[in-house]
């Protein structure tokens, strides 16, 4: 039998004395890197002016915003697909090899995309950042999840919330970093408005940064439990001590109910995020607020920044709170409170209540982020720790679906209202009512979640993975 590679699961088992608080930073190193995807929009203007050299005046041969939008869409679709496809492989080989694969794909995507930018070949960029990078996103997103849950059985929400908070924070780092790098390379005359050189640099930075996660991550020994840990101290029928495999999970109604829960929560959140900047500018324009008092483009960018902060904080706050409140209750709050707040937004817009409007949007987005961060712990409660990473990966197809569905619904409803002659806040009214309606569906799906039937449980010990320890 061949000796196990240093990347294999069996070589990452922590010995006695290993401090579990090293695991969240390892997970964060991956999520902070791949969270860059949410900052891809900073490249859209320069990428759309590579021929003309002036983002304000693109040439006919320059790439259009629609063509460039496809890059991010491919990446998000590949995120969901690769998370679903590689989830079981990840559970078998362990987090270290998966994190290394993620680092190589994610940074490799940047290198290939840099070549595409240099040659002005959009298909190479699609393949590089979209396909190869997207696979890195998917594997990276799920790679630390089951490991964190195994290390923190007593604080599943806190642990996964910390990691998934990193995905939100990654864009906050990448956005100013990318702008600074492009300015530097443009000034130093590297061509392509500094984009190709920035892609290369980011590829190197992220490859190195993610290595910290690769080499720090450990899985706990089979019989390890935290000190003073009592399983299910607040016994709940929705927290199982059994295990369900990823294949069996797909056969349960609970998996599909949670799929709907994630789909509706994310689709509704995207409705706000997609439209945030034009929404606040049109709803509180000079025509509505009075000359010189309307929301400017800079202030709208500030609004988008504020939403990003609440998206980040919500991931940690709500996920941590779910450890105390229970997952089902937490999602009931997301949906119940969400329905009221989404339905309130058009009224606040009509009554020119800017401060309340901003506050409500922030709470909505905090619950959007919370929905992402709480779902791994919900899955772990229902299906056990055995293949929770793989199950989570399959559930992320709901995110990919929402990524396509959300903007479609928002744009269709908004354009329809505008065609009917509505302007300002009124043009978005049906968008928010439709999102509130979606949340009703999510609320009902969450309400229907019960304990998984015991017939789906694995028999006997399931901790030892093939090729494992």
């Amino acid at each position: 039998m061949a000796e196990a590679s240093i990347l294999d699961r069996s070589r990452t088992v922590a010995g006695p004395g290993y401090n579990r608080w090293l695991i969240p930073p390892a997970a964060l190193a991956i999520h902070l890197a791949i969270g860059q995807a949410y900052a891809f929009s900073v490249f859209k203007k320069p990428l759309g002016a590579l021929i003309s050299g002036d983002p304000a005046a693109p040439a006919a041969a320059d790439w259009t915003p629609t063509q460039l939008g496809i890059i991010f869409s491919i990446a998000i679709v590949l995120l969901g697909l690769s998370a679903a496809i590689f989830g079981k492989w990840l559970e078998r080989v362990g987090p270290r090899k998966a994190m290394m694969a993620s680092a190589l794909c994610f940074s490799g995507g940047f290198f290939i995309a840099a070549l595409g930018v240099h040659l002005h070949n959009l298909w190479i960029v699609y393949f590089g950042y979209g396909v190869v990078g997207g696979i890195g996103l998917g594997i990276g997103y799920i790679s630390p999840v089951s490991t964190l849950i195994k290390w923190f059985p007593d604080r599943r929400g806190v642990a996964t919330g910390m990691a998934i908070m990193g995905f939100g924070g990654g864009a906050m780092i990448a956005s100013p970093l990318s702008v600074a790098l492009m300015d530097y390379f443009k000034t130093n005359g590297t061509g392509t408005l500094g984009v190709a050189a920035t892609f290369l640099t980011l590829g190197v930075i992220y490859l190195l940064f993610m290595q910290f996660g690769v080499w720090t991550i450990r899985v706990p020994a089979e019989d390890w439990v935290p000190e003073n840990y009592v399983p299910n101290p607040q016994h709940s029928a929705l927290i199982t001590s059994s295990n369900v495999s990823a294949d069996n999970a797909l056969k349960t109604p609970q998996f599909w109910l949670l799929w709907v829960v994630l789909l509706t929560n994310v689709t509704a959140g995207i409705g706000v995020l997609e439209t945030a900047s034009p929404l606040i500018q049109e709803s509180f324009s000079d025509a509505v607020m009075g000359a010189g008092r309307g929301v400017t483009a800079a202030a709208a960018a500030g609004f988008v920044g504020l939403l990003s902060l609440f998206n980040l904080l919500g991931r940690f706050f709500w996920s941590s709170a779910s450890d105390k409140m229970g997952r089902k209750t937490t999602y009931a709050i997301y949906f119940g409170l969400g329905i009221v707040l989404y339905a309130l937004i058009p009224t606040l817009g009509r009554n020119i209540q800017l401060a309340l409007y901003v506050g409500v949007a922030c709470v909505i987005i905090s619950m959007y982020g919370g929905g992402f961060a709480t779902i791994p712990a919900y899955l772990s409660d229902l299906f056990g720790k055995y293949q929770v990473g793989a199950i989570h990966g399959r559930l992320l197809t709901a995110w990919s679906t929402a990524g396509v569905l959300g903007p479609l619904i928002v744009n269709f409803l908004h354009e329809s209202r505008k065609a009917e002659g509505f302007t300002g806040a009124a043009a978005y009214q049906t968008v928010f009512y439709a999102m509130a309606g979606l949340l009703v569906v999510g609320l009902l799906a969450n309400f229907a979640v019960t304990a998984v039937n015991a017939k789906y449980n694995e028999k006997g010990s399931v901790e030892a993975e093939p090729g494992g320890h």
């Binding site: 930073p25 780092i173 990448a174 019989d223 929301v295 500030g302 980040l312």
Partner: protein, 47 residues
């Protein structure tokens, strides 16, 4: 929290508090920088 002694093939390791601090600093410093940049941008909304 350190794990209690368990039967395992893996050798015993001790993690110092310094190592944990450095690990958190490695990811925390860039994150705080990113958050501060976003916060500064968000202030434009209130100008």
């Amino acid at each position: 929290m350190n794990q209690p002694p368990v039967s395992s093939a893996a050798p015993e390791t001790t993690t110092s508090g310094g190592a944990v601090f450095i690990a958190w600093a490695f990811v925390g410093i860039p994150l705080l920088w990113g958050v501060s940049q976003t916060f500064i941008k968000a202030l434009d909304l209130f100008k």
